[in-house]
Amino acid sequence: MKFSSPAHAERVTSRIGLALAVTFTLCFVTGLISHLIQHPPPWFGWPSRPVWLYRVTQGTHVLSGIASIPLLLAKLWSVYPKLFERPVIRSVAHALERLSILVLSAAAFFELVTGLFNIAQNYPWTFYFPQLHYAVAWVAIGSILVHIAVKLPKVRLTKEPDPSRRAFLRTTWLAAGVAVVATAGATVPLLRNVSGLSWRSGKGPQGLPVNRTAAAAGVLDTARDPNWRLSVVTPKGTKTYSLDELRALPQSSAELPIACVEGWSQSAHWSGVSLPELLRDAESAPGTPVRVISLDKGIYGSSDLPGEHTADELTLLALELNGEILDIDHGFPCRIIAPNRPGVLQTKWVTRLETL
């Protein structure tokens, strides 16, 4: 078999490889940040400001993953002839090298395919997505490092003189750019009406998407129960609040984004009681870590707010969204909205706060 395409040249492979190294590193670092915020080890801290930081890191995670799809396909096309090299195996080292490339390619495809299906909340598999997307991310980044170490002597990044090879590279960069523009409206406000393939629409109640409805959480009755009370549990005892009592406390407002792990984000106007205010009223102190417990008994039915966030005046127990009483799908009677946190930790239908 003879491959005559201009794509199969070392300079082309090196350039696309460098671009992929950048996008996969961005994906890995931003993914690791998101993992650490959700499962913080004792040494890890995450600030409450700037309020948009997580929105940017998680948007970067998803968009660099999307850019990687055309880049990976172009990279594999540029090295495709190597698949047919004979002899298949020359030595033990050569066998290991080929095996490492198989591992790299399998891990890279797995990350991109599962990630793409996850942002569409479409799960045609049986495993728990976050667990394996995280495990295989280590394999992917590790095999990229090994691959670069092996190939470093062959890397050519000088300017490509051949016009048809330059055309192949231009098409590759264009495809990556178009892929990003076609989807980035899910998180970049300017592209909201440009991206034809955004997975976030404008159809959510009160102008904001919902990631788990009250019906799915099984809280339609308990959230509307007139006897609903918020319990705030501190070492000094338990204080309970009715919705009217919460409304009677001093109210604060904040413009804060919901930034989802699935990469979409949207800013909204929230009003309610600030956490420092509520903690003072319950005779605790701002800066005390708080466990937030929902009426939702599912796996995302509780979250821990670090002291950093309970000290921040922008962290709200929100009662209103965009000037209206919180929609039941957005967490009525009250929800947590904190600056610079993943949406999955902005616990809805709050029933209990416990200081830790």
Binding site: I69, F127, A149, W199, T213
Partner: protein
Amino acid sequence: MKTLRLLLFLPGLGAIAWGAVLFADYAFPLRPDVFGTLGWLVGGPLVHDLLVAPVVGAAGLVLSRFLPSCWRTPVRTGAVLTGVLTLLAIPLLWRVGDGPRNPGLHDADTLTGLLVSLAVVWLGVLVAAGLDQARVLREDRRQSASAATTGHCS
């Protein structure tokens, strides 16, 4: 160079090993569904190497054989963009493993969005090829002010 390569290689091996430990946490004790997951792991390279790459290669070959030179690069680029945009739309359109409906998420009209995006791409292809054709015409006219012009792409 050797030190740099080692500094990449050793942490790389470490990361792979850590990933393998995390994967083993999931995979053991072995259950039937783990084999389905292994399918998702090896499926990528298999589908690509045996199906996607040969089809793309054949399509590229056909396009370069039958298209005039002005059209070759724009049409190939248009075909690449069509493929990429379609791939990105698949999880939104082919809802096999759907969870509960979430208002405001993946409830947009993706099919129309895809078709409009593709229309923009192919409009770009027409413009790019047209500009190239105009350039060839201008060059021909300059080169042969008296001789008969060949104002088209070969």
